[in-house]
Amino acid sequence: MAVAATSATDIEVVRGRRAALFCAAVAIVLGLPLWWKTTETYRAPLPYSQISGLDALQLRLMVPVTVVFTRDSVPLDDQEKLPFTVVHEREIPLKCEFLQGQGCLVELRSVQRCVECPTKEPECFSAFFSEPSAFLSQDKMSYIGPGRTAVVRGIMHREALNIMGRRIIQVAQAMSLTEDVLAAALADHLPEDKWSSDKRRPLKSSSGYEITFSLLNPDPKSHDVHWDIEGAVRRYVQPFLSALSAAGNFSVDSQVRLGASLTRLPPATTWPCTASPMSSTQWNPGWDPALPPCTLCSTFCSTCLMATNAFHSPRWGGIMVYNVDPKAYNGSRLPVRVEVDMVRVMEVFLAQLRLLFGIAQPQVPPKCLLSGPKSEGLMTWELDRLLWARSVENLATATTTLTSLAQLLGKISNIVIKDDVASEVYRAVAAVQKAAEELASGHLASAFVASQEAVTSSERAFFDPSLLHLLYFPDDQKFAIYIPLFLPMAVPILHSLAKIFLETRKNWNKSEKTD
């Protein structure tokens, strides 16, 4: 009887122990993964490795150059030796914080043996060799035209090919990329000390620009100022902007601010990405406002105390102080009618616009003749150079944005990554790669478009508001919700596991003793 009872008890104990173990197993094997899965923040997969690969991106900018020899410009036996293509590579080392080891290889590819002059403007750079004494005066060795063409004087010499090669490279570099241009484009990404701050003059690259001409007249009681801004915009600004239209969309307007006083300088640093902030009206260029009135932004002033009458604020705009002829006050009653001489004003503004868009004065190689600008004030190769610079700048911006986004997402695990954010990131990465490829193969226009897309997509991903949704969800609220569930479930399981563990150890000790 007692034996039966003990065995029955033993069976019961073993059954209870098994049940407890089973419950613990179910809770751990089924419950925990289920809870983990259902409360996980959604994070779409991102191309982290590709983004970190962008860091070490080697930009290769190709500048295809066609070289055309006219008759008798090269000795006959040299013509036989002309190679079909020549590749000249030059590395521009620009070390910057994010783009480690990014260099630029400028590649010159020369194609020869075409004798006929192309009639329309060539798609790529061309250098002509000729012997036209009528074209170049004796002391000049080369001529850079307003289009994409240059003419280099031919030479009858034993080393003719080598000398000519050097000259072509000189001219092509002057017309395409220089170190300065790239440094200016990457000014934001380079360390401060290496490049002076005047590299940061141009506006940041953007898809559109809004240009506002403001006439500030601080004293409308004594001056009645008129300007023919519509005609001036139509005559001088529109041709320039339509030549620049490949670099973005432009809108032009003007306003007259009357009685605007000079109070403070606008912050010249930041502005939301798409507009050029030339429209602020209240600012102070730093002289005593109690002195005679000075108007700004193509503006006027009766007796101004400045030697120069125009200056510009980097990445913001330009100001011109327009002085009223003192003779105008003689004998006439107030207000004096003032007609602004728009030719004088627009000369200054077009120069300032060129500075704002980063079109620097070209560095001409020695003994080279530079043609006068075209009627719109912009040479085709200057536009090309701007597009190159903008593409490189866009690529650098997009890479920086993507890298910091990836870093941020890796660091903070609480951020939700939605599918549309992920697709923007993928698109940006693909666009960066496409732009780099197009640059390497010399397709400038499509490279620029791709680089713009890269910037837009990467910034859209970076500033997506959905990233912030769960960022500030406090941890104590999670505990407040989980504890009522987990505590009552975990306590019995842990208790019985502890009990089983103790009993097993006791039994084990007992069996050891009996042994």
Partner: protein, 522 residues
Amino acid sequence: MAAAMPLALLVLLLLGPGGWSQAEPPRDTLREELVITPLPSGDVAATFQFRTRWDSELQRERASHYRLFPKALGQLIAKYSLRELHLSFTQGFWRTRYWGSPFLQAPSDTDHYFLRYAVLPREVVCTENLTPWKKLLPCSSKAGLSVLLKADRLFHTSYHSQAVHIRPICRNARCTRVSWELRQTLSVVFDAFVTGQGKKEWSLFRMFSRTLTEPCPLASESRVYVDITSYNQNNEPLEVSPPPTTTYQDVILGSRKTYAVYDLLDTALINSSRSLNLQLKWKRPPESEAPPVPFLHAQRYVSGYGLQKGELSTLLYNTHPYRAFPVLLLDTVPWYLRLYVHTLTITSKGKENKPSYIHYQPAQDRLQPHLLEMLIQLPASSVTKVSIQFERALLKWTEYTPDPNHGFYVSPSVLSALVPSVVAGTPVDWEESPLFSTLFPVSDGSSYFVRLYTEPLLVSLPTPDFSMPYNVICLTCTVVAVCYGSFYNLLTRTFHIEEPSTGGLAKRLANLIRRVRGVPPL
């Protein structure tokens, strides 16, 4: 009615395609004007108007060049092809019953197809709304009438309303050319009677803490009008200083008014004292007389009990002794009040009043509010009651505003009417007459246009307990934990046969007592 409502913000947009004719060289003019009206209650109303007229085809030209017209608004018109824009910020409530009809409200001509109309009754008007409004003025707040616009005085008033009205106006009779008109208006009602210790005297300096020093050099007209009508009959008991050079008489809002006119462009006016501080003094204390009741005023309230149903009622008063006139009543009610249109009743003098026109656009949840528009004939000297029942809807718990127990605002109804006037007016020349009389074009002098807004209403909606999701989680967890506990207990419980032991504390105690009693232990 007397309870001042916290605010009304009104946006009225008319969108439409613009197809205008050829442009000529742009020309713009600025006129500014201040009307000071002593109100029957002893308060003083001051209405500023700044009107910029620009003869330009804004919507057709690509490059826009602005002079007096603000660039920000011009770009808005050009980009969105605006036909008209009316935006007003109002703090307080215009008490039509005591103050008479106001000068200015919204436009007289609307096209429903392109109309966008919205009211935000919950928003608060503040100095940060006044500053950008002042920046739109060509003279900013440096010269002219705008020097009086000092924020701390303007907001220390019982009524404050600032507005921007943009509308095209015809340049010729056939309207083949249009000009753009920007009217910036600001009306304030100073509580002069209370703050002035019961005296009805005022001066510019006491109201605005500034005086007028110079006209805006850009303005072609800069004038101050002071209403001296009601005191003119009984032997001049008041004096306005400095004495006005001219007076202006016209029929304004149905009654004949006399205004003292001060032209700031008249150099003699300011040069004599270097500043102009208008003052009004009484020679003998005025008799307190009952204020004349305006012919049209209205009142609105919500009734009913509980949180399920209610009723919106609007009372329209026609106090004209013998003339009936129609009124256009426009109501926008938010979707969370579900209107029952079959309960719409309109009664005047105890009889049913059938509206001659009804337009009803039902609400769509979370998309658009109810729109109810009616043309009602108001009989002479009568009160018409328009009432409609509604049911309160339940919102989703994330749709409640912060502080939901405060209630939800229902925007005011809009009343537009051509009210018959007592005195026949003469047709006026639009460009020559003062700005306050040209807000609404009136074809004949026998009636005048009035637009009134009723009070915004505050309706409380049933609000849930916002801690409920957490409570539900806790309760569910507890239930799960209890079920799980008993289930677990059932599964893992084991039964042992207990050896009888010496017993617990109770048994020992019992044995102790038994021993004392001499009874054998258990």
